[in-house]
Subunit: 269 residues, 2 copies
């Protein structure tokens, strides 16, 4: 195994966040599930945005946010995700590179605009996300550069990649290249609704060894094993994956392998 | 005088703010005057943005921010400013309308992109602005709708409108229509550097009655009359304008007419 150029390479849906403070009434009027992430089409995006107040914007995306956090901690980080060559795509490209992350995915020249998420922040601080995937749908296996994958110690994949039709092929291609190069593959389950959509496939990825390391919070883990009992779920996780990391909000976090469980406090979800 | 449809109509440079936290070193490396607003061309915009960290964005512009504030207070407000029909122009249009402000200015179909300001926020909270006017340069007298102006009790104009070449004609056209309809015209001096650029013209506007009401902070007022003595400057202001409002940060604010001066406390600049 050659020495790594990157500590972590993330692959995810490149999404521009459009944030607005609102009240609970807005969520119910638009039939939104509070705290969830719903996929929306262009028509619904237009309808929601029309009713939203003045917003602020920033680059986002689940894996991208994690990768930026990792870069801030001093690690060598890279990201793969699809934007369009539009104004918002250029803002996105600026932001992730400015965070010190290598980002070389070619932007789409046509097709839908850069993806965005309309994020409603209610007075209790809860965020309800409505995501229009846009150009993120066009991530294909051609966007996976084998030499870059092979040069990364850990590949970090987000569960949300199961939403766009073509992205899962990119996911599997990256995982295969990584393993061939002796690297590790991590999966974050993204959110409990996402787990609900792809439970069988996520379990397959874990059981057939496509992923080595699984990140989840309690709700995602419970959804994965369809149980309300944390210990039962954790036991199954240890059977299904080499290493699991479960965040438990104020209860800290649990790191579990086949032969060991270590609980640490003070790590928030 | 017919009854008014709007309490205040603002005319200004429509600018999208790109904000980033940075250190003092960034300002000196780029030769920026801390706390100022510098006009930049596209080449300098590119060079500054390339060095900036990950940013957050929101719609801005001096008069637009004031108008949004006025709408939040419950007044009927309108805004005139030029964006391009690009993604950022559409974000801008959304935001100002979502704030309850009537905004009907036709976006530019060609020419430069929607204007933006790269705003560097240093650890002391000071904001240093670098503004690329973009489409704001293309505001012309054709964008002034006589019936809308005549239907507004007060027209609020920003000093920054003296920067784009054609905007001052729009400014004068609006002021003329407003006065013909028996309305009031207000001018904000924008910033002390702006006053320094257009001192003579601003004084002319005040002395020839194009504006009735002048808003300034202490630094702008001192710059206008090129004096460090506040009382001397205030005396001259009372000669030159019907009504002046001077904000003085923690010292509150002073409202001065020909025959009266009222000082109020607790109004921040």
């Amino acid at each position: 195994m050659s020495s790594a150029k990157y500590d972590v390479l993330g692959i995810g849906n490149a999404i521009f966040d459009v944030l607005v403070r609102t009240d609970e009434g807005f969520l119910s009027r638009h039939g939104m599930t509070k705290g969830g992430m719903a996929l929306i089409d262009e028509a619904r995006a237009t309808s929601i945005y029309r009713d939203m107040g003045p917003a602020t914007e920033m680059s986002g995306g689940s894996a991208a946010n994690t990768i930026v956090g990792i870069a801030n901690l001093g690690a060598r980080a890279a990201y793969v995700g699809k934007v369009r060559d539009d104004q918002i795509g250029r803002l996105y490209t600026h932001d992730i590179r400015a965070a010190g992350v290598a980002f070389e995915t070619k932007p789409a020249n046509d097709g839908p605009a850069t993806g965005c998420s309309y994020i409603l922040v209610t007075p209790d601080g809860e965020r309800t996300m409505n995501t229009y995937l846009g150009a993120a749908q066009d991530l294909t296996p051609d966007d996976i550069d084998p030499s870059q994958i092979a040069a990364s110690r850990v590949i970090y994949l987000e569960g949300y990649l199961w939403d766009p039709k073509n992205a899962k092929d990119s996911f599997v291609k990256a995982a295969t290249i990584a393993h061939d190069a002796g690297r590790q593959v991590a999966l974050t389950l993204s959110d409990s609704f996402c787990v609900d959509r792809y439970r069988g496939e996520f379990l397959d990825l874990m059981r057939n060894g496509t992923v080595d390391l699984v990140f989840a919070n309690e709700a995602e883990l419970r959804s994965l094993y369809e149980t309300s009992d944390f210990d039962t779920a954790l036991k199954q996780l240890r059977v299904d994956t080499k290493l699991g990391v479960v965040t438990r909000s104020e209860k800290g976090c649990v790191v579990a392998s086949k032969d060991r469980v270590v609980a640490g406090a003070g790590v928030s979800d």
